[in-house]
């Protein structure tokens, strides 16, 4: 078999039992890999109503079919679970080297359930596996956990995915960290902490078999050539995501002061050229010639010695726009602290921004914050708040459950100031300034996730499939479906999301890579890949439908739908949810009232097994 190892490892932490099973021809053919496997396994294994923090919830790590080969930009790993933040199906994704090492160690997927009595970590090497004592690692930060595991096992090349103190303390948006690349969103680290699983560690020397080696090599050569020829390759390689704040501010859609404004005063201080001055090294994921990663070091100012891998755009926004402070050094220091303590930067920054608005409105005071003045432009309290969140101390304990639950606990009409969809905090894009981008945030199956169907057409002016007016409503249902299904099929290989956003890999070439790798002819056909993408998206939706979600949950905070952007290029814009959603449900083949896929659509996609469940 090419690409896949055809082995799933199942681990039950309650009784420390292991089992292995094959992926099987049907799963491979029908779901291709990566995100396809993750959603199918999770849908089949979990009963509706499963407690996200209980024994029955699963944590499914998946490496894609192309991971571990020399095809470019397929190094990402994904983790699937029912989210303790949203209660929905969840997928979260990190880069680095873990996925390739999982394959070298012999596995496509690792399915963890149960709850261990004591802290443990899972050590997988050359097809073998064991649970090891992690009591001494409990409480240790993410970077040091990597170091200690590598030292304990006497191998510096071991790849690790671990949680930090935030996951151990049940912060609902704790992430999973692998060499400072993060599956940050949705509380995968929280689920891992609830199972007392500190880390997984992988090492192996198995090969990834290739069905048609010479044709595969040609396809990889074609991919490398197309990267090099792309007009944006060199620039993205140099800058990574650190230029995106330029776009969002220039377009007037950089969420500022909890989505009340669209331009951050002083945003010039956080534009790409300013991060270039702080860049000390480039980094890359396994087999990726883009090497978009940046090691950044703060200047010797308020945060002497602070450095980070990043910050990526979302983190830059999360610690500037939210608090109306354009302190570039703070973004570096906050990024590293979140990486060390094991927090998702988007939800952390958004929860802090929510607290700043409550403070401004007098809903909370210095009595609640132990003297911290949460006033706009004052970034001073941020690092202290991050620590408090990670350890559930002081006011951080309130914010550690996410802004929606925090608002429900605080009361006093604060729910309207929680900026979320389905409980997941919104990222750094104001939906009023880009309607397809917003429509994706509204309908993504994990809550407000920009990467489920990013609209590069609106944010970056990408001409693929065609240029669009970002404020227009017409055609946005169709475009959102296009972006979401495209993302879903590229994520069967767990392709990095920046590649399709820049139009650097076509469906045709992806099909060529997949089919020559696996030997499965159907994969060469782009229409088959589009079909699988749509199927994955609908199966995720059906997981959520089974949990009671529907159109009633595809809702933005009222602010975005009734308060116009006050100034800038987006001045006067609101998010017109009703017509946008209606068009979207129609083009998806979903009931326009309930938002549930209709039976004929499910049958067409081969998902009839979800009917009546």
């Amino acid at each position: 078999m090419g690409g896949h190892k055809n082995r799933i490892l199942r681990v039950n932490l309650t009784d420390s039992k292991f089992s292995e099973e094959a992926l099987g021809d049907e799963l491979i053919h029908d779901y291709v890999g990566g995100r396809g496997f993750g959603v199918k396994l999770l849908y089949d294994d979990l009963k509706p109503g499963t407690d996200p923090l209980g024994e029955a919830n699963e944590l499914i790590f998946v490496a894609g079919p192309l991971a571990g080969t020399n095809a470019q930009s397929f190094a990402r790993w994904k983790v699937f679970f029912k989210s303790p933040l949203t209660g929905t199906y969840f997928k979260s994704s990190g880069g680095g080297h873990l996925a390739a090492e999982m394959k070298f160690a012999g596995f496509d997927a690792i399915v963890v359930n149960g709850v261990s009595e004591k802290p443990v970590y899972l050590w997988i090497h050359d097809g073998k596996y064991e649970l090891r004592d992690a009591a001494y690692l409990w409480g240790v930060d993410c970077d040091d956990t990597h170091t200690l595991i590598r030292e304990e096992l006497h191998d510096p090349h071991i790849r690790v995915a671990c949680i930090g103190p935030a996951g151990e303390h049940g912060v609902r948006y704790a992430g999973i960290f692998s060499d400072r690349r993060t599956a940050g969103r949705g509380g995968g680290g929280t689920v891992m902490g609830s199972k007392r699983l500190k880390a997984i560690a992988c090492r192996g020397r198995e090969k990834v078999e290739i069905a048609e080696p010479s044709s595969f090599a040609n396809a990889v050569r074609e991919q490398v050539k197309s990267y090099k020829a792309h007009p944006m390759f060199e620039s993205f390689s140099t800058m990574g995501t650190q230029t995106t704040a330029e776009f969002t501010n220039l377009l007037g859609m950089f969420p500022t002061k909890n989505f009340r404004e669209g331009i951050l005063p002083g945003w010039e201080k956080i534009e790409g050229a300013e991060y270039t001055k702080l860049r000390v090294r480039k980094t890359a994921c396994y087999s990726c010639m883009i090497h978009c990663g940046n090691i950044t070091k703060a200047r010797n100012g308020r945060y002497p010695g602070a450095w980070a891998e990043g910050p990526e755009y979302e983190t830059i926004w999360a610690f500037t726009g939210t608090i109306a402070d354009s302190d570039i050094d703070l973004t570096v220091a906050a990024d590293k602290l979140c990486d060390d303590l094991g927090l998702d930067t988007i939800s952390t920054g958004s929860a802090i921004g929510f607290a700043y608005e409550l403070f401004e409105k007098g809903i909370i005071t210095t009595q609640d914050t132990e003297g911290m003045e949460l006033t706009y432009g004052n970034g001073e309290p941020v690092l202290r708040l991050i620590r408090q969140i990670a350890y559930r101390e002081g006011f951080g304990d309130v914010l550690a459950d996410g802004s929606l639950r925090a608002a429900q606990r605080i009361g006093k009409e604060s729910v309207q100031f929680s900026m979320h969809v389905k409980g997941l905090e919104l990222p750094g894009y104001d939906p009023r300034g880009a309607k397809a981008h917003g429509l994706n945030l509204l309908t993504a199956n994990i809550g407000a996730d920009h990467n489920s169907g990013y609209a590069p057409q609106e944010v970056f002016g990408s001409p693929i499939p065609k240029p669009v007016d970002r404020f227009a409503i017409e055609g946005k249902g169709e475009l959102t479906k296009w972006n979401q299904d495209l993302t879903a099929f590229f994520e069967t290989g767990i392709l990095c999301s920046f590649v399709p956003a820049l139009g650097m890999l076509s469906a045709e070439l992806y099909g060529k890579l997949l089919s020559t790798l696996t030997g499965i002819k159907d994969f060469v056909d782009p229409s088959y890949l589009w079909h699988v993408g749509e199927k994955i998206f609908n199966l995720e939706r059906m997981f959520n439908v089974r949990e009671g979600f529907g159109a009633k949950d595809d809702v933005f905070p009222q602010r975005l739908m009734s308060e116009p952007l006050p100034a800038g290029p987006g001045e006067g814009q609101i998010f017109e949810a009703e017509p946008l959603l209606k068009a979207y449900y129609q083009v998806r083949g979903w009931d326009v009232t309930t938002g549930i896929p209709v039976a004929s659509k499910l049958n067409e996609l081969g998902l009839s097994f979800t009917l009546g469940r």
């Binding site: 007009p231 944006m232 620039s235 993205f236 800058m239 990574g240 995501t241 230029t243 995106t244 330029e246 776009f247 220039l250 377009l251 007037g252 010039e268 534009e271 790409g272 050229a273 978009c292 990526e312 755009y313 979302e314 990222p427 750094g428 894009y429 920009h450 990467n451 990013y454 944010v459 970056f460 002016g461 990408s462 001409p463 240029p467 007016d469 970002r470 999301s497 920046f498 956003a501 820049l502 800038g568 290029p569 987006g570």
Partner: protein, 89 residues
């Protein structure tokens, strides 16, 4: 009348400046401004801008292609932004 031009990425590298205020004749169009930039910074600048599809030109935050393209009529104090189409979330 005066037009503010903001430059990013390699356009800034070629020009050596972030911001440029140009004085143009009344009823100038976008194409007039680009011609003037070419005169100031040399033909390399225009060639870069003409790599259509991967250069973003915004006039007061709006895509030039969704206005009147190169023929878009400018007015005093308009802001033109020229930036490469790169980024990611």
């Amino acid at each position: 009348m005066e037009i503010e031009v903001l430059l990013f990425g390699r356009f800034r590298e070629i020009a050596g400046t972030r911001q440029q205020v140009l004085t143009v004749q009344e009823e100038a169009r976008l194409s007039d401004v680009l011609e003037q930039l070419d005169e100031i910074y040399g033909s390399g600048f225009g060639a870069e801008v003409k790599r259509r599809g991967w250069v973003r030109i915004l006039i007061n935050g709006r895509e030039y292609g969704l206005l009147d393209g190169m023929e878009t009529l400018l007015k005093h104090n308009d802001q033109i932004v020229i930036l490469p189409t790169i980024g990611g979330g």
